[in-house]
């Protein structure tokens, strides 16, 4: 009976993924603080451990030993559901990402390079990553706090703005590749060239919409700490507060991964076909580059107002994405 193949390996696989993402999140918070500090000519965390490397650990311990408070006016079930959604939905997209050209085998059981090689991979990712916004809206509404409510309203405004250009650029990618399977998308880029060359507009629109989807500056309107206290997380403390941070940062990593797979060839690179491990290294490097870009944008661009965001998405990104789609279709058909 191969229950090991069908059950144990996916369980171990996904556990490792979740653990890596959680530690990755902790160090991403360190990297971001350090980088933003450098961009603004400060030092950043440098007290806990050498170069402040133990800072994430110290933060995590502090968050864990905080007193857990629930505001008495809050809608408790929804209030508790929101941080749960924020963490759990951020990681599940990783089930369909291919990490290397081929897997390896342990004791006769094969470990695939992708956990679930399904033919609707891209649709699954698009569906799963948008659930994260619901965590924000639910948190803001259930807290029964005016700041939080305003944050949730802005999250809603953001959601109805970026989803359209995001969806349309994904269609352009599917159109070029002719498949929604992640492995086939990478295979296409191996055979031809990286999609950022074929679809530069789609790549740029996707990056901007991705910033909005993961609530990153300049689109971190639901949070806006200098006008709404902390926006949707005002009433959260301790580990529940950390949960939203976890969600946001893992969303960043996920977005880096999606952009790398769709537009930068995923694990492809010199020698990656022969040595699968090298592919994993390239993949991580590409994700790191994307994350660096996101942090760079945060340090350089001021936050927009949310009516500006809506106008920008509906009147500029959406027609541009549609035009890109139509031109792509015409070029492919002829």
């Amino acid at each position: 009976m191969d229950w090991i193949q069908t059950l144990l390996i996916p369980i171990v696989y996904s556990t490792i993924l979740v653990v890596i993402l959680l530690t990755g999140f902790a160090y991403l918070s360190y990297v971001e603080r350090k980088l933003v500090a450098r961009f603004t000519m400060r030092f950043g965390p440098n007290r806990a451990g050498p170069f402040g490397l133990l800072q994430p650990l110290a933060d995590a311990l502090k968050m864990m030993f905080k007193e857990e408070l629930s505001p008495k006016n809050a809608d408790l079930p929804v209030y508790l559901l929101a941080p749960f959604l924020a963490i759990s939905t951020a990681v599940i997209g990783w089930a369909v990402f291919p990490f290397a050209s081929r897997g390896f085998s342990v004791l006769g059981y094969s470990v695939p390079p992708v956990l679930a090689d399904v033919n609707i991979g891209l649709l699954y990712v698009a569906a799963v990553t948008s659930i994260g916004s619901y965590a924000v809206v639910l948190a803001g509404w259930s807290s029964n706090n005016k700041y939080s409510l305003l944050g949730a309203l802005r999250a809603g405004a953001q959601m109805v703005s970026y989803e359209l250009p995001l969806g349309l650029t994904l269609v352009a990618v599917i159109l070029v590749v002719g498949s929604m399977n992640m492995t086939e998308i990478i295979q296409y880029q191996l055979d031809h060239t990286w999609l950022i060359v074929l679809q530069p507009f789609a790549a740029i629109i996707f990056f901007i919409a991705g910033l909005a989807e993961s609530n990153r500056s300049p689109f971190d309107l639901p949070e806006t700490e200098n006008e709404l206290v902390s926006g949707y997380i005002t009433e959260y403390g301790g580990i529940r507060f950390a949960a939203f941070f976890m969600g946001e940062y893992i969303h960043m990593i996920t977005f880096g991964a999606i952009i790398s797979i769709l537009f930068l060839g995923g694990w492809s690179g010199p020698g990656a076909d022969a040595v699968p491990f090298l592919g994993l290294v390239y993949f991580i490097l590409k994700i790191a580059l994307m994350i660096f870009m996101m942090i760079w944008v945060r340090a350089s661009v001021p936050r927009v107002r949310y009516d500006q965001l809506m106008r920008f998405c509906w009147k500029f990104l959406m027609p541009l994405a549609l035009l890109n789609l139509v031109v792509t279709a015409i070029v492919i058909a002829l």
């Binding site: 864990m64 905080k66 505001p71 008495k72 002719g178 789609l325």
Partner: protein
């Protein structure tokens, strides 16, 4: 094949368990010393007044309604894009008609000022 989706289900369960553990365990690690003012609504240190559960004008209400329709229309593109290479010119013309109707609606709501705030 439904079996292909089993790993996704497993991943869902693992992620949910991790989130549950991460949220429940620290509840027993921290001190517990509740008081009325601690669990009050935070309004920058002032005494909270009223509730947040009241009617709020949502300026983008119309945009949200339009979003639902446009998002559903975007979903129609997905299956079309996957089989576009088999459909060739036929698919292009069919979708050209669809996009034209979409564009007419889009231009109409733009001209009518539905994308502006009231």
């Amino acid at each position: 094949m439904p079996a292909d989706y089993l790993p996704i289900l497993i991943m869902l369960v693992v992620a949910a368990l991790f989130a549950l553990v991460a949220l429940i365990v620290p509840y027993y690690m921290g001190p517990r010393n509740p008081s009325t003012s601690k669990s009050d609504t935070y309004e920058s240190g002032k005494l909270p007044f009223g509730t947040a559960r009241r009617q709020v004008p949502i300026h983008y209400y119309m945009v949200a309604m339009l979003f639902m329709m446009f998002d559903i229309e975007v979903i129609f593109f997905y299956p079309w894009a996957v089989i576009f290479r088999q459909l060739k010119i036929f698919g292009l013309i069919e979708m050209g008609v669809f996009v034209a109707i979409l564009l007419v609606g889009y231009v109409y709501i733009w001209k009518k000022g539905a994308l502006e705030w009231d």
